[in-house]
Amino acid sequence: MFQPLDPLLHAELRLAVMSLLISADEAEFPYIKEQTGATAGNLSVQVDKLSAAGYIEVEKTFKGKRPCTICRITDKGRKAFEAYVEALKSYLSK
């Protein structure tokens, strides 16, 4: 029986962002942009969606005089990611 996949995570860019953040304490926006190869605009939209769902926390701060956006995964996000991977297994084992 296939388990339902979280629609919020079942999108390439959002899944890539969550996969990056799952093993990191926190990551800066430019790093995520570089690693995922996404455009700043698209990434910003997807980060907002993850943040609105409570999967990640977004902190806007400064690095010297330059603005800096830091993303980190929340407990809710971690659990959702684990559930997504579990659900994924049911598809792959078929």
Partner: protein
């Protein structure tokens, strides 16, 4: 990477694997310069201390290791500042813990032996049985090799694992054949195998 409603389970798994591997590659890439830097520090200081020990006043020159640690940390801090910003991950934290534990143990042993060598502490207080032969270079080589080998295992790099194994065991037994300042040349050799070779190889791989 655009949003894709027809994302398959296989592609999802690919994305997750790809991101994890990518972050591991970045950690490996960033480890090349610190490995080489610390290697160069030891390669300069070990023969220098050996020379001074032999020709200018004995083992007291081992206190120069403290100077090396200071220069090493300053250089490492500068390398950290210049390299690309990478988030702290479980892997990078574990590697940091492995090397800080190595520093703690070797630093502790080094300080105790320095205190004995300079007469601040009596030998019998640390080594009650005079028949027990204690070779600091063997112990440090073993710790060195183990730390390198564990680092290699964490970042799944076979070359670093092999270098650590050879440096640790090779240094442990080779140092037993030498005494006093001559052991420092063994330490330099251990450093070439445990730090310089892995660092240079990773650096070349990064350039490709």
């Amino acid at each position: 990477m655009e949003e894709n409603k027809n994302l398959t389970a296989e592609r999802s798994l690919e994305i997750i694997t790809e991101q994890i591997e990518r972050s591991q590659r970045t950690i490996t890439k960033n480890s090349a310069l610190p490995l080489m830097w610390w290697g160069v520090c030891v390669i300069i200081f070990a023969p220098l201390i050996a020379y001074l020990w032999k020709n200018h006043g004995g083992p007291i020159w081992n206190t120069l290791w403290a100077v090396m640690w200071l220069i090493g940390f300053i250089g490492n801090w500068l390398i950290d500042k210049k390299k690309e910003t990478v988030p702290t991950t479980f892997v990078s934290k574990t590697i940091g813990h492995v090397w800080s534990t190595f520093g703690l143990f070797c630093g502790g042993i080094g300080i105790l032996f320095c205190l004995i060598g300079t007469g601040v502490l009596p030998l019998k207080l640390i080594i009650p049985n005079a028949y027990i032969f204690s070779c600091i270079t063997s112990i440090i080589s073993l710790c060195f090799g183990m730390s390198t080998c564990i680092t290699g295992r964490i970042i799944q790099n076979l070359l670093i694992q092999r270098c650590g194994f050879i440096a640790g065991l090779g240094g442990f037994f080779t140092a037993l054949f030498f005494s006093s300042y001559q052991q420092l040349y063994v330490m330099a050799g251990v450093t070439i195998i445990a730090l310089i070779i892995p660092g240079v190889v990773i650096h070349i791989q990064n350039k490709k």
